[in-house]
Symmetry: C2
Subunit: 337 residues, 2 copies
DNA sequence: CTGAAAGCGCTTACAG
DNA sequence: CTGAAAGCGCTTACAG
């Protein structure tokens, strides 16, 4: 691997001149030397050492994409990307970063780890964070002074860019759809709503739909837990035991909803005849199960893509005030309602 | 962000001494200065600039994980990670890299892009590549002289570590299972088998099972195409038209197999009564469809984990000759056969 | 148009 | 036990 100095020697010029050619500052170099150097650059397949460049320029072209998560000390238990939601997001983020000339560093971050160390270590140019809650923002992300885009995060974000979905509205539309179909005993299956976040917003929408339709909420209708396929199936087991108490369920996410449907069927209930189920996300796997899942679709690819756009805009110095985007949702009617 | 020089000033010592404390070379520093420096290090929340460190040490602690792929110029068409196979793999790779003190850089690489530039640019310590074929190895990966672990790659790998699954044996077991269940007209749905790779190996196993059971292969039994859910459904359409020609199908991957089942059902065929389907991978989504997918399970998490182990072993200087691991497979009987 | 020099933050022999 | 100096590969004012 040839360095600038070696190239300079071969071309019998100073490394400064080589640098000028590399950076296409052609007004500073004569045509002949320029061409001579360019030829050598190609012949030696010169590739700049980004560590040296970044050390000097104090920027790295690295974007850190991170997901806060309780990290189990067992690879078989860290399954986030098994959920196609995460997959679709990283597809899109990687695509746009590459297109924009940045490099993707990915890392899960645990509740205790301080993210700012990582940011300082690598001098990352920007950070994309998925699904943080208040507590984490106060501890894990404190003192990060590079541009950050929060995805699916509510709370304390005045200074940072953020992108969310119409979560409250989505919860409302989903529940309203069930009500319009004549359902009155509508359970809700969500991940934790203790802190303000995607789950609590969707839950708020659910509650609003009940309110506006004068359906009194019953505490027993709320099921909270880890948003996995397995937990959905588990919840379904409990619901199946009091099946007369429910005629429909609004479920926080598609993965969870598919688990719920599976669990209901395993306990002899028919979907949607005995009980309707509506999900949230619009993943392709909703089409795999039977009945196919009715859901609230969001555009995950757009989410990832725009997260990068927001960041790049800021890094280019084109952005002014922090932006807070809210992406629309759409009811997709399939067969589970 | 305090640098070593600033810390040195505060502690009224040379930066050398600070460096020695940071690297815990305690025999070179007196107890008092050591404690004084350590206190300042904590107070200022010192984090080393990895660019400087790496520039000097000529190693980066970055591992590049890359997947060769035809890259569409449309984020909605780059859907690799929607497949939970990829998701499970990156979960596991990230987990073990973090555990081993390395950083994960991820990037798709197109057919033409030269990967070695990226490797040189970032001085990456090692590379993990998923599913390359001969042609790509000759062009894209030429002249990479850092440790590389190839996952799911056959061909020309004498000098590199590699991990594959018992693909041929898996194809054999799958097909044999169908034959034992009385099937004789067994179609095979695969991604391209033109070049030696995972698909061709699984196909070889299929052919061997036919041979050993004296079932002559019929050219019309082979369906080749892009290994997606959609393509599976499309193939199923063609198969449904000549449904009497088949009583079973061995499908290259679970995602594809689920598409096939969906397509068959959409065209009025019953699985497994009219036609049996067996997949390959053992993804959780095989349990979502109806009937649940019978498949050949491989341990994807182990694959990712061991890929990192192989790399780290080499980086630690513990490894000698290149290793070629083959992970076992297992027939999982569900309901689609 | 070209070059000598300083410096980014760190590490590594070497001298005392 | 402590420090002065060189150097990793690059960029950036500055001088000529």
């Amino acid at each position: 691997m040839a360095s600038i100095v070696e190239i300079a020697k071969m071309a019998k010029v100073s490394k400064m001149t080589v640098s000028n050619v590399i950076h296409k500052k052609y007004e500073k170099v004569s045509k002949e030397t320029r061409e001579r150097i360019e030829r050598i650059l190609v012949e030696t397949n010169y590739t700049p050492n980004l560590f040296a460049r970044n050390l000097k320029s104090n920027s790295s072209k690295i974007i850190l994409f991170t997901i806060p998560q309780t990290i189990e000390n067992d690879p078989y238990k860290n399954t986030a990307f098994n959920n196609p939601f995460y997959g679709e997001l990283i597809n899109s983020i990687e695509f746009n970063l590459r297109k924009s000339g940045y490099y993707l560093m990915f890392r899960f971050v645990s509740d205790e780890e301080i993210l700012s160390n990582l940011v300082l270590n690598w001098n990352v140019d920007g950070v994309i964070i998925l699904g943080a809650v208040k507590k984490e923002i106060r501890t894990v992300f404190k003192d990060i002074n590079v541009p950050v885009v929060f995805i699916d995060t509510y709370a304390d974000l005045e200074e940072s860019d953020s992108i969310v979905t119409e979560d409250e509205q989505g919860g409302f539309i989903a529940t309203n759809h069930l009500i319009r179909r004549g359902k009155r005993k509508i359970g809700v299956v969500v991940s934790s709503i203790k802190e303000i976040g995607v789950a609590s917003k969707r839950y708020d929408g659910y509650r609003r739909a009940l309110d506006e339709n004068n359906i009194p909420f019953d505490d027993k209708w709320l099921f909270e837990g880890f948003p996995s396929f397995e937990f959905g199936a588990l919840i379904a087991q409990r619901i199946a035991k009091e099946k007369d108490a429910f005629d429909a369920l609004f479920v926080y996410s598609d993965v969870m909803a598919i688990g719920v449907i599976k669990g209901l069927k395993d306990h002899g209930l028919r979907v949607p005849q005995d009980i309707s189920v509506i999900g949230f996300d619009g993943l392709y796997i909703g089409d795999l199960c039977e009945p196919r899942l009715t859901t609230i679709k969001q555009d995950i690819t757009a989410k990832g893509y725009m997260a990068v756009d927001l960041l790049v805009r800021k890094l280019d110095g084109r952005s002014l005030a922090p932006e807070h985007l809210t992406l629309p949702v759409k009811l997709i009617e399939k067969e589970s309602v």
